[in-house]
Subunit: 362 residues, 2 copies
């Protein structure tokens, strides 16, 4: 047990509190809040305006707990994720700032897959005592950047010494009661959709593992960024919930095949996926051509795509297509819900067997 003066631990928390200070602190109390506080969105000046969630923060980081408000008629969504060095990432090929961004994004993705709006987050960080302080600063910068981008204030945090870097984030969000999209709502006959182009993140990881950080500037840099800085599909998730289009939804953290299995298991159903027309990126296609390998394992079992995988009634397929155009995000039908089993049909019409469904971080 190493015990030293607490002042330095307080210093870390104070620095977090300073970096994530409320832009409207002191202008509100528990009583008489509400109309006060700045508007959300982006101000005309181009300077980011105050995120609406700040108006819900009565007391942010710095007391024993945070004190926050939810909207009437909403339910609370909560999720927690941990990124662990040498299990989820290697410092050698993970820029600190992007690591900070990703630590928040992976939890935001869970909120997206419920159709929810993220409100606040808490973070616990561990790192070795002799770490280059710039790496920690970079993580803080990344967290802040993502926090600002998605309007999600930090409301709690702590740091502790450990032999490795770990970042544990908990995100709180909300959704109108009854509009939460669970994994369990898929019914036989429903169409299965996925956003974006799964497999890019796995391609990016492969390139990073082989070539290190210089691949951020190389031929596959788009895929590398998909791995290091995934985008939580919040607008898509929220629209699918608001328009009551998704009957079930999950985010793709461990590969389309495995996460689809989780979804159909929760729904007590099966699924058939067709590789013909499956949405893969031009980059993944080129990479697989250049290496003479098949894209299916990366696209189906690659993991860390943080795309949304959801089901919808067949009659709503046109509405899904319209939504895809509106939000400017590719959404592709990849199969249908069946009674039982998970079947993958190759481009040649023959069944495909995957060596493994997905990847884990254990």
């Amino acid at each position: 047990m190493k015990r030293k003066k607490v002042e330095s631990e307080d210093a870390f928390i104070k620095e977090l509190a300073k970096r994530f200070a409320s832009p409207i602190e002191g202008r509100q109390t528990s009583k008489g809040r509400g109309a006060r506080g700045a508007q959300g969105g982006r101000a005309a000046s181009g300077v980011p305006a105050v995120a609406p969630a700040w108006r819900r923060v009565i007391k942010g980081i710095g007391d024993d707990t945070s004190v926050t408000l939810l909207s009437p008629g909403s339910v609370l969504l909560t999720t927690t994720d941990t990124l662990v060095e040498s299990t989820h990432f290697e410092r050698s090929y993970t820029p600190a700032r992007l690591l900070g961004r990703k630590a928040l994004s992976v939890s935001l993705s869970d909120i997206a897959s419920m159709g929810g709006t993220p409100l606040f987050f808490l973070v616990s960080i561990t790192f070795p005592g002799d770490i280059d302080r710039r790496y920690i600063d970079g993580i803080y910068d990344g967290l802040k950047s993502s926090s600002d981008e998605f309007g999600v204030p930090l409301i709690g945090g702590n740091t502790a010494r450990a032999p490795i870097v770990t970042i544990s984030t908990t995100v709180l969000g909300e959704v109108k009661k009854g509009r939460e999209v669970l994994r369990s709502g898929a019914r036989p006959g429903d169409a299965i959709f996925v956003t974006g182009t799964p497999g890019d993140s796995a391609l990016g990881l492969t390139v990073l593992q082989n070539h290190g950080l210089k691949s951020l500037k190389g031929r596959w840099k788009k895929a590398v960024l998909r791995h290091l800085d995934p985008v939580p599909r919040l607008s898509a998730g929220q629209a699918l919930s608001r328009q009551r289009l998704a009957t079930s939804m999950i985010d793709v953290s461990d590969g389309v095949a495995l996460d689809l299995k989780r979804l159909i298991d929760a729904s007590g159903a099966g699924a058939q996926v067709h590789l013909r027309g499956f949405p893969i990126s031009r980059e993944l296609q080129r990479y697989c051509e250049s290496t003479g390998s098949s894209w299916a394992p990366l696209a189906l079992s690659g993991g860390e795509d943080y795309e949304l995988l959801f089901t919808a009634r067949p009659k709503d397929e046109k509405k899904v297509a319209a939504l895809s155009r509106t939000i400017g995000l590719k959404i592709t039908r990849i199969g249908r819900v069946t009674e039982t089993g998970l079947n993958i049909v190759g481009a040649d019409g023959r069944p495909v067997r995957l060596k493994r469904l997905g990847f884990e971080h254990f």
Copy 2:
């Protein structure tokens, strides 16, 4: 980056979900809940009844996020804490079950110090791949035991491999809007109180470090248990908030002196503490007599007491004493809030200088 089949990670989550399964699962949906679900408290049969918080869980662990409800008119309290092996504990002298209990209790203590009621918790656990599985089972057992005791359902969790054991808990709670007790409300003239007998936990740690687990059965076993299995002072915190007695409050995690400093700093005030009449346990007194040492460093700077330190108006002192009798918990006046500075007055009336205010885990 180690990537293996995800099935085993899912297995861990499934086991968590099974252990923490809702006793009323399937009996409620997002619509039409409320009156249904079991009552809180303890059933006449002696079997623990369903905790009231379960009635707020629309979807617990097992989906992308949990889905829960707050009471109307309440604000949300959120706190996160991490216990890290060889920083906060050593496996050699920390029984797994008590480690699990403590991981939850330290966050519950933060809710107590806001005057709140804990509702739910999330947990992230890391451990080495080759750990004795019984240690992990023990941690789960401890978490479950504390979760049941305080009626706080688990609503999210994850596990990951790491070279060391870490347990990160996030607890959500609530308190009636405007009744949250912050650190910042102390005013000059207020009396300063502390619950229990600070210093016991530090004594317990000292004994554990010197004699290991056999000290759980030795002469100082009470103090050892105070360290390994601290009791969050939820009833006291809630009563102080409900009766509007506490003007400010903090839980003692890093020693009375340091946490008092944090409280007066947040309040923009000072404090004077008197060692005459300071509440120390008979055990701590005996230990210090037997070793010829002073009890003040352990009682003031020991840390991990998880007692409540709060201020109240002098006119409310009798009400505080009455509350102490009602809930059966020692509450002692130890000083008063001043304009500035932190002064400690010894039993002989002379000023005391501490070598350090408190301890940290960094």
